[in-house]
């Protein structure tokens, strides 16, 4: 039997190699978050992922060798050589969300390249899910492109959009066409804040369709970089008619879920090793039986 102190003496890591950011979370054997990091450099940037890993390790005062098991997720999950396993963001976001908020039933994740809605069971398993079926429509990349077209910092668009009470409709969700539409709206004299508000409503409308496919149950949590956009959160709440729980660090939920899976795997492996060690202790070598193929036998403890 492993003691609590023994259990906490091992560490696992989850790494989310996303399309726009690299995230790493380290947890201890008691499944407590030790450190985390988010780095942004470029599309599925390995450098950003390595920076996030190094940063998380440094914050935790650990070296890579101290990590018992690593699970990767995100678009670049298969490229991370240090990972023992890789899992999709769907499973990892469900697991991470359940850890932070065990009652959560629906997770909305708006990431860089994908938007998804996940129905979660009480154990943090995926009950059902729906993803955007194509391209970057309605995702973080969509917002980045449009923010650039409007010459506004991505971090500012949420608060700015809340200043609007206009009802501007952006009909196209294709990033390329929406950019043209935004340019057209600017040319027509619409203000930046009104256009930003229209963008958020357009994404909310699209997400409502995904939510409908899964079937929304409350409580609802939002994860991913999109959750840091207050304008988008408010638009979603209004469109869905619910309150949405936003974790303190919504971008790390996938990595957190991966770290929890890593903990499961590591615990399973440790348990198996311990059982084998116990089994080995209960075996005694057979003596003077050279002609017999049975080299050892198990003591009957009963």
């Amino acid at each position: 039997m492993t003691s609590k102190s023994d259990r906490s003496s091992f560490y696992t890591m989850g790494v989310d190699s996303g399309s726009l950011t690299g995230k790493a979370v380290i947890i201890d054997g008691n499944r407590q978050i030790v450190s985390h990091s988010v780095k942004q450099l470029g599309f599925v940037s390995q450098k950003a992922v390595m920076m996030a890993i190094d940063d998380a390790l440094e914050k935790a005062g650990l070296a890579l060798e101290d990590i018992t098991y690593t699970v990767s997720t995100g678009y670049g999950r298969k490229r991370l050589e240090i990972a023992g396993k890789n899992l999709t963001e769907i499973s990892c976001h469900a697991k991470g969300a359940n850890y932070l908020y065990p009652e959560v039933k629906t997770v909305i994740d708006i990431g860089g390249q994908d938007s998804k809605v996940i129905a979660v069971d009480p154990s943090g398993n995926v009950k059902n899910f729906a993803m955007n079926d194509k391209c970057a429509a309605g995702t973080g990349q969509f917002l980045e492109v449009l923010a650039r077209a409007l010459d506004v910092e991505l971090t500012e668009i949420g608060a700015l959009s809340l200043q609007s009470d206009a009802d501007i409709k952006i009909s196209s969700m294709c990033t390329t066409f929406a950019e043209s539409e935004v340019i057209s709206l600017v040319a027509e004299g619409h203000t930046t804040v009104d256009i930003l508000s229209g963008m958020h409503k357009a994404i909310s409308g699209r997400m409502k369709g995904l939510v409908g496919r899964v079937g929304m149950q409350q409580p609802v949590m939002m994860t991913g970089g999109g959750a840091k956009n207050i304008g988008l959160v408010k638009a979603l709440e209004k469109t869905l008619g619910v309150s949405i729980f936003i974790p303190d660090e919504p971008q790390i939920i996938g990595a957190l879920g991966a770290a929890l899976f890593a903990n499961d795997f590591a615990t399973g492996i440790r348990k198996k090793v311990e059982e084998e060690q116990d089994l080995d202790k209960s075996r005694v070598p057979a003596k003077d039986c050279a002609s017999c193929s049975v080299q050892n036998f198990q003591l009957n403890k009963n």
Partner: protein, 434 residues
């Protein structure tokens, strides 16, 4: 969890027999003019026997596009068609055949280097369109006519939707019976049209013989597919995709009965010996959508690597002489009409859902993969509704991704991977819940 290992699909060996038939068909087609045969371009449903009975050659537009893609020769004709102004969003089957037709008629530009299959298409003497649920088909044939710059005799068989009005269900009801009569009347006119084009009376004896062959092949294929209700399945959707040719543009081609019999025998033998399509079947998947012809092997191995067998699909199991018992070779028109009216593309939503639910139950389906073909929205028009309702009514989870029939530039491999892996992980979680 969904850990992708290097496992490969155990595909049917007898599937290769189809290649021989395809090669024979192709040789006959490219030499048709030399042997005095008229060439008919067709699009839509399999109507080859109508022409074969009159000793005419035929090119099935979609089948041709699929063959060009399966030989990885599709890029050059697609590029040529796009350079000539055919939009990239246009049906990729049409774009591929348009490019090939233009190679034949206008010559190959210096900057393109197409493969042999893409450049050997003979010019049409007539066009027969026979489309269900697609508005592109007739316009495609119209464009073909313009490419060749002359008035080409053209016959359009209209296959009306079977919407399910007034209680009409699959192969039953007033709407169904009226539609059958309407299509039969058009087939009678088609035969008169072919008599004019060929310049000789219609050879009914030959037509009846060919429809007898069609019935046999259709029956063998359905029986072989039904053997895959067994767990684990001895063959997969990807095997059945290869077996589309003998029931599509090769319908009633000499040797198709023997080829399909060999396939059925191999499936039965596998079943008897416990050999499965996927080495370690854990999940059974339904494929909803048209096959991606240039990704066939890639997809087959991908699912095998997740211990998942794609056991059935709307494309394979709900079309291509899927109701062989309705064919009476002595009076074949009604049976042809029924098979074409009740095919996968032509059914109204309630009937489609009912058929999919039946297949999902019969084949013990765990999950559904919806492939939304970028350039065939007609096929994917009910995907969201089907996903929602099959989940609500049967608890079947699904995932969807975007690809295409024969234009692989619409694929983003990692987008496809993530969606399929997410489904597998979700199914695993479901199984662990019990």
């Amino acid at each position: 969890m969904a850990v992708q290992e290097a496992k490969r699909a155990n595909r049917l060996k007898s599937g290769k027999l189809v290649n021989k038939l395809v090669n024979e068909y192709w040789e006959d087609l490219i030499n048709a003019k030399k042997t005095g045969k008229k060439v008919v371009y067709t699009t839509g449903l399999p109507i080859g026997p109508f022409m074969a009975a009159q000793d005419m050659a035929w090119i099935h537009g979609e089948g041709y596009g699929a063959r060009v893609a399966a030989r990885h020769e599709e890029k050059e004709p697609q590029t040529f068609a796009e350079n000539k102004g055919f939009n990239r969003e246009l049906c990729s089957y049409a774009r591929t055949q348009m490019g090939c037709a233009m190679f034949a008629e206008l010559g190959v530009p210096d900057d393109l280097n197409p493969g042999p299959i893409a450049t050997e298409i003979p010019a049409p003497d007539a066009i027969v369109t026979c489309y269900p649920g697609c508005s592109t088909g007739p316009q495609w044939d119209w464009a073909i006519e313009r490419v060749f710059g002359k008035k080409i005799p053209w016959f359009n068989v209209v296959i009306p939707y079977h919407m399910g009005r007034n209680g009409s269900t699959y192969m039953k009801g007033e709407e169904f019976e009226e539609n059958v009569k309407y299509v039969v009347r058009q087939f009678e006119d088609l035969i008169k049209f072919l008599e004019v084009v060929s310049g000789k009376p219609y050879n009914w004896d030959k037509f009846q013989e060919l429809m007898g062959v069609t019935k046999k092949v259709g029956k063998l294929r359905m029986e072989a597919m039904e053997l895959c209700k067994a767990k684990p399945a001895p063959a997969s959707f990807f095997d059945w995709s290869i077996q589309i040719a003998p029931v599509n543009y090769l319908t009633a081609w000499p040797g198709t009965v023997e080829a399909m019999q060999a396939v059925k025998d191999e499936v039965q033998e596998r079943l008897d010996n416990g050999v499965s399509a996927v080495p370690n079947e854990k999940y059974r998947i339904f494929w909803e959508g048209i096959m991606n012809w240039n990704k066939l092997g890639w997809m087959a191995d991908k699912f095998a690597s997740y211990d998942a067998t794609v056991v059935a699909g709307r494309y394979t199991h709900m079309a291509f002489w899927h109701e062989p018992d309705t064919i009476d070779p002595e009076h074949p028109l009604r049976g042809i009409a029924i098979n074409h009216l009740e095919c996968q593309l032509n059914l109204g939503y309630p009937i489609t859902e009912e058929r999919m639910m039946t297949l999902s139950k019969d084949y013990s389906i765990d999950g559904i993969v919806f492939h939304g073909a970028r350039t065939c929205r007609s096929f994917s028009r009910s995907h969201f509704l089907l996903a929602e309702n099959l989940n609500k009514k049967m608890g079947i989870q699904s995932t969807s991704f975007e690809g295409d029939m024969v234009d692989d530039s619409f694929y983003k491999e990692e987008l496809v991977n993530t969606r399929i892996e997410a489904l597998i992980e979700s199914l695993e979680a479901q199984k662990s819940r019990g």
